[in-house]
Structure formats: C-alpha cells, structure tokens
C-alpha cells in the first residue's frame, strides 16, 4: 500500500510547479494552464484526504472544483479571446494598463 502522505507530497510538488509556472510565464494561456495544474494538485490533495479520513466530502469538493474550473475556463478563455481581439497579443508583459 502506498502511504497517503506520498500522494500529498506529490500534490504539493505539482502545486509548487504550477505556482512557479503561473508566476514566471508571460503567455496568458500558459499561465492559465499552470493555474489548472494548481487546481488539480488541490484535487489530488482532496481525494487523498477523502481516502485518509474515509469521508466522501473530499470527493464531492473535487466535483465542485471541476464544475467551477469549467466555468472559470469558459470565462477566462473568453476574456483572452476578447483581449486578443483588442490587443493582438496575450503576452501579459504587454498588457500593463493597470499602471496609472
């Protein structure tokens, strides 16, 4: 049997990778993908805890995370499309209108 903490460590590793990706990449889509990665690592944590605690709640939360991720992807990608239409790029370094 595999100890549950291994799953948790794997999830932490994936989370760290996702975080680093989300913070270092400049392509909007890649950042978005990194965020999905982070979401999934959390899903793995939830399922692992579900198993550890013998409780279905973790799995149900994953279910909701999936639904929310779907919504997030739909809206986020629509945003990118709108953004691309206006600025012809989704390089976040070039989209810095939040200044002034």
């Amino acid at each position: 049997m595999v100890p549950v903490s291994w799953y948790l460590l794997l999830a932490a590793l994936l989370f760290a990778i996702g975080t680093a990706g989300a913070l270092t990449r400049r392509n909007g889509i890649t950042i978005f993908l990194s965020i999905e990665l982070m979401l999934n690592s959390v899903n793995l944590t939830l399922v692992a805890y579900s198993r550890l605690l013998d409780d279905h709640t973790g799995q149900l939360v994953v279910f909701f995370v999936l639904a929310v991720a779907a919504a997030e992807a739909a809206v986020g990608l629509a945003l990118f499309i709108a953004l691309y239409r206006h600025r012809r790029t989704i390089d976040l370094n070039r989209i810095n209108l939040m200044r002034w």
Partner: protein
C-alpha cells in the same frame, strides 16, 4: 367624514407629488385639474368633516393617530386633532385656500412655471393643514417648517429676477430665528413633561400646575420661558416686531401667494400657536402682557408705515402686519376667541384685498405703483367694488366683518383696563381706514395716470378671477356675523364663535380654573381688575361709537386728500410734501432694515469672513494640505512597485502568502 381627517392634508400633498411627477410638459389643463382639484377635494372633505363635527351633539375633540413616529417609550405620533380651534382654522385654510387656487388659474395663466407654481402651492396647502390639524407640537412644527419652505420657494418664484430670491432668502433666514426659539420652547416642554401631545401636555399642566410656575431658566418660570420662546417663534412667522421685516419684502412673490400665504393663512400660524398654547400664556401673565404690547406696537408701527407706501402690495403688506398686531394684542389680553375671530375675518377681507390688487396688477401689466393708476373703476367694476367692500371691512365700518372682530379686540382692551393699548388700537384703526381708502382712491377713482399703452390694455379680469373675488367679498361682509358681541346684539347671547371656541380657550375653561387656583393672588387680582373695569353697556356703546367715528374720520381724511384724483401731483404723493420729514421717515420704514443691516448683518458677515480667511483657510486647509503632502510623498516612495504588470502583483501576493505561512503558522 371626521374619520377621513388624514385625507385633508394628504390630498394637497398628493396633488403636489402628482404634478411634480407629471412635469412641466404636462398639458396645462391636466396641471390645472390636479392643482386645483386636490385642494378642492380637500375642501369637500374638510367641509364634510366640519359639518359632522359642528352638528354633533357633544363635539369632543376628534383624534386620529396615523403612524407611530417614535419607537420606545416616548410616544410622538403622527396624529391629527379636530377641535374647535383647529376646526375654525381648517375652515379658513381650506376655504380661502381653494378660492385662491382657483384665482391663480387665471392670474398665473400666462406665466412661466405654471406647473411649478401649483406644485408649491399644493405643497403649502398640505403643510399648512398639517400645521393646523397636528395633534402635537412636533407635527405642528413639521407643518410650520413646511409652510416656511413653501413661503421661501414661492417668494423666490421668479428666480430669474434679482429681488425675489433675495426676498425669499430674507424671509427664510428671519423665520429661522423664530423657528429656533420655537424649537427651544418645544425642547423645554418635552424635557419637563415628556410629551408633545396637546392633550397630554394640558392634562399634565392641569394636574400639576406648580410645575409651570417653577423657576426654569434665565430667572423665568417654566411657563414664562416657554411662552416667551413660543412668542419669539410666533413673531418670526407672524411678522411682529422685531422680526416683521421679511413680510413686506415677501410681496415679491406672485400676488395670489401674497394673498394666501402672506395674508390669509401662514402668517396667522403664530396667532394660532399662541392661542393653542393659551394655557401656558394664562400661567405667564407677564409674557402675555408683552405679547399684547408687542402686538399693539406692531399694529401702530406698521399702520404708520402703510400710510407712506405707494406700492399697492406694500400697503397691503404693512396692513397685514398691522392686523396681525391686532390679533396678538387680543391674544395677549386673553381674548383668544377675539383673536381667532379676527384671524378668520381678516383672512377673508385681506385675501380679498390682495386678490383685488392682483387683479389690478394683472390689468396694469405688472405695474404696482398706485401713483400711476387711478380711475380703474371704469374698466374693472367688479374688482373695484369688491375691493371697496374689503376696504370697508378692514376699516371697521359697521355691518362688515372687520367691524365685529375689531370691536371685540378693542372691547377686550377696554375691559381689561389697558387704556393705552385701547388708544393705540383705536389710532391704528383710524390709520387703517385712512391708508386703505388712500389706496382705494388712488387706484380706482379719479383719472388714469398711467401710460397710454397701459390704458389700452386695461380690462376686467376673467371670471375665474372675479368669482373668487365675489365669494370672498361675501365672506368679508358676512363672516362677522359669526361673532356678534352681546352688546351689539342688544344683550342677546349670539356670539357663536365665542361659544364654539370656549372648550379650547375658555376663560371659563378647565385650564383657566386651575390657573386661578395656583396663581391665586395674581389671577384673583386679574379677576378683580376685570370686575372693576367691566364696563357698562352704555360705556361699551360709547366706545363702539368712538371707534366707528374714528374709522369714518379716517376715510373722510383720505377722501379729502385723495378723492377725485387729488393727492398725486407730478407723479408724487401730495402727502409727502405736507408731512415733510415725517413722511420721509415713514416711507423709509423707520430705516429698520438699515439698522438691522448695521447692527446684525454686517458684524456677522465680517465675523464669517474672518473665520473663512483664518480658521478655514489657514488652520483647516493647512492640516489638509499637510496630510495630502505626506500621502503624496509616501505614494512616490512606493511607486516603483506599481509596474502595471499583473504578474508582478501576483508575485507580491504569493510572497505575502509564503511569509504568512512561515510567520504566522510556525
């Protein structure tokens, strides 16, 4: 219909709201229908309620609580009260108010802002009815402030000119001084009795009279303090010395407004309040005497000024101040029913006179200077003769309304033994007769002195204006028969209004009886004086004769000076030459406005400027600028973190989280 009491003030409010919602582009007919219909319906309901009330066998006061204003123990409700006093006021306000609304349809028909005018006028009606029908001081105060607001709005109705808005501001500010005193009086009562309802207040006063006599503040008893406060409030609203200065200026508003607000109804609110609080005044004889004195002084002062005015509305304005002085004279002497009676008759004939003057001004194309009028009788007979009826009524010619009410007041003065006040009243009566007929002769008799163009345009006003004139003229004649005194009726007791008001103002009422018990010595002396000075029937007849002769003499003098077109030579009043310096003083209204400006306004303005420059400009702004500079410098320091790149912000966020993890959790 007494159960529909709440509808009476609500209808005009609804009318105002509806017209306001319809907006200035609404068809004129619709605006008119709403603007006149609302007070009309209100009148119908009021008449129904009054009929039911008067014909009831034992007309106790009708109370109606609409809405609990306050939560908790202190209960101040929005409640209405119909008792004899408010019944009289209700009738005057709705009846006169309705006819003036109707008149306005004709008068304002060519004006800009027709809809706005009716919104304001309806709003005024609602506020006035709230004032009159309120069951407690707070509701009354709301109405009081409401009518003040409407007065301000309507005086400044022609906001695109220079004078009206200034006059409106003046009225508002002067009124605020009085309102402040009113508020203080109200607070004093509330702090002592814990209620503002008339019924509960009077019941508590009756149950515990010592409380009224106890020292309260400024070395005055509670009763004196409160009475003084309320009286100051009344001088503001009802234009008495020293706060009367706004009323003549208020003539800058449309003439029907002058008739309704600044002659017939609003300005009498002060009288109404004093009468309403008669229990307090009974317990404060010193203040009551002050009221009488101020009233008499105001009456005489205003009458003398009225003699030297050439603006037809100014004459009527000072006349109003003068007549209000009469009412306070009566109220101060304890002749409350006489005061209310005069209030009622005055409402009719003064509204009539103002509307008549409005009709004249309308025909003259806005001209208000009497020196440029004359002989208008020929062109506008209805206006002329109704105006004459109004003049006879105010002069106190027997048979007309003013005679009966004025006689009651003079009789009260005489009966109380205040001969000086009586003499002042008499002199005022004579002056009143003089200046009214001066105005009548200058306006309607003799030859026309205006330009040819004006002459060309002269016409009788339309029926929508003359019908109210005739209705009010009838009132000016017959309203007096509601209060024929015992002497005049040859010993029969037919003084209806006196009996009707008795439950409220008494004299023989409950409150007075209690007052007697407490202020044993004082009131006993009072009563003794009354007994001593109570005049015989013969003496009363003599006094009446003197009054009538004085009035007729005033008319005759006016005729001697101004009859048949005399009195105006080269566009100037002949009286000016004859009286010389005195006329100068009178025509400049004793320079009261100038004195006020020098003593009160300029120092205040200077002080304000000083505050503006030093306290606001230096201290407060300085603090602000300093803090702003600090914020700016801080912002400059932190500016480099604001790259505009969302990725950097996310990084800050993430680093913060990591630090939190290590710092807080470990």
């Amino acid at each position: 219909m007494t159960n529909l009491l709440w509808l009476i003030p609500l209808l005009p409010f609804a009318g105002a709201a509806l017209n306001a919602a319809l907006g200035p582009r609404a068809p004129k007919a619709l605006t008119t229908a709403v603007g006149v219909g609302a007070p009309g319906l209100s009148l119908v309901v009021a008449l129904g309620a009054l009929w039911q009330y008067v014909t009831a066998i034992h007309p106790g006061a009708v109370e109606q609580t609409i809405y609990a204003w306050t939560a908790g123990e202190t209960a101040i409700d929005v409640a209405f009260l119909l008792d004899p006093l408010s019944a009289v006021m209700l009738f005057v306000v709705t009846f006169v108010g309705f006819w003036i609304h109707l008149y306005s349809v004709g008068y304002m028909s060519h004006e800009e802002g027709y809809q706005r005018y009716f919104v304001y006028l309806n709003l005024f009606m609602g506020a006035m009815l709230l004032l009159v029908l309120g069951d407690n001081l707070l509701v009354m105060f709301v109405g009081w402030e409401g009518v003040g607001l409407c007065s301000y709005l309507l005086i400044g109705f022609y906001y695109d000119q220079k004078v009206p808005p200034e006059a409106g501001r003046k009225a508002f500010i002067v009124n605020r001084i009085g309102d402040f005193a009113f508020l203080v009086g109200m607070f004093a009562l509330f702090s002592e009795f814990g209620t503002l309802s008339y019924r509960e207040l009077f019941a508590q006063m009756a149950a515990n009279p010592a409380q009224l006599g106890a020292d309260y503040a400024l070395g005055l008893s509670l009763a004196s303090f409160v009475a003084l406060c309320f009286f100051v409030g009344a001088t503001g609203k009802s234009a008495q010395i020293p706060l009367y200065v706004w009323l003549p200026d208020a003539m800058a508003g449309p003439t029907p407004v002058s008739a309704l607000i600044h002659a017939a109804t609003m300005v009498t609110a002060g009288v109404y309040m004093v009468v309403r609080m008669n229990v307090v005044y009974e317990a404060a004889p010193g203040v009551a005497l002050l009221v009488a004195g101020v009233g008499a002084a105001t009456a005489l002062l205003a009458a003398t000024i009225g003699v030297a005015q050439n603006d037809i509305k100014k004459v009527l304005a000072y006349s109003t101040v003068s007549q209000l002085g009469y009412m306070f004279l009566a109220a101060g002497l304890g002749a409350y029913s006489a005061a209310v009676f005069h209030l009622g008759t005055h409402a009719f004939f003064k509204a009539l006179l103002f509307l008549g003057s409005g009709s004249v001004i309308h025909a003259m194309g806005g001209e208000q200077d009497m020196r440029k009028m004359g002989g208008l009788k020929k062109w506008m007979p209805v206006t002329a003769w109704t105006f004459v009826i109004g003049g006879l009524a105010i002069a106190g010619i027997p048979g007309f309304a003013g005679f009966f009410s004025k006689d009651e007041i003079l009789a009260a003065a005489a009966n109380e033994g205040h001969w000086i006040l009586w003499a002042v009243g008499l002199a005022t009566a004579g002056l009143t007769a003089f200046y009214m007929f001066r105005a009548i002769y200058m306006t309607f008799f003799g030859d026309f002195r205006g330009s040819e163009e004006q002459k060309h345009h002269l016409h009788e006003s339309p029926a929508v204006m003359t019908v109210p004139l005739m209705v009010l003229a009838a009132g000016a004649v017959f309203a007096g028969y509601a209060g024929v005194s015992k002497v005049l009726a040859f010993g029969r007791d037919v003084n209806w209004i006196h009996h009707f008001l008795e439950p409220v103002v008494g004299g023989h009422g409950e409150a007075a009886a209690h007052g007697e018990a407490v202020h044993g010595t004082e009131t006993a002396a009072h009563g003794a004086a009354e007994a001593v000075h109570h005049l015989s029937v013969g003496a009363e007849w003599a006094l009446i004769a003197v009054a009538v002769v004085t009035a007729i003499a005033g008319i005759l003098v006016a005729r001697a000076f101004y009859g048949s077109g005399r009195g105006v030579e080269d566009g100037e009043d002949v009286l000016a030459g004859k009286l010389g310096g005195v006329h100068n003083v009178l025509s400049h209204k004793y320079w009261v406005d100038e004195v006020y400006a020098a003593v009160v306004i300029r120092p205040l303005a200077a002080l304000s400027r000083g505050f503006f420059k030093w306290v606001d400009g230096f201290v407060i702004d300085g603090l602000l600028h300093t803090s702003a500079t600090i914020a700016e410098l801080t912002g400059d320091l932190g500016r480099f973190t604001t790259t505009g790149n969302a990725r950097n912000y996310v990084l800050y966020f993430f680093i913060g989280i990591v630090i939190l993890f290590f710092g807080v959790i470990l």
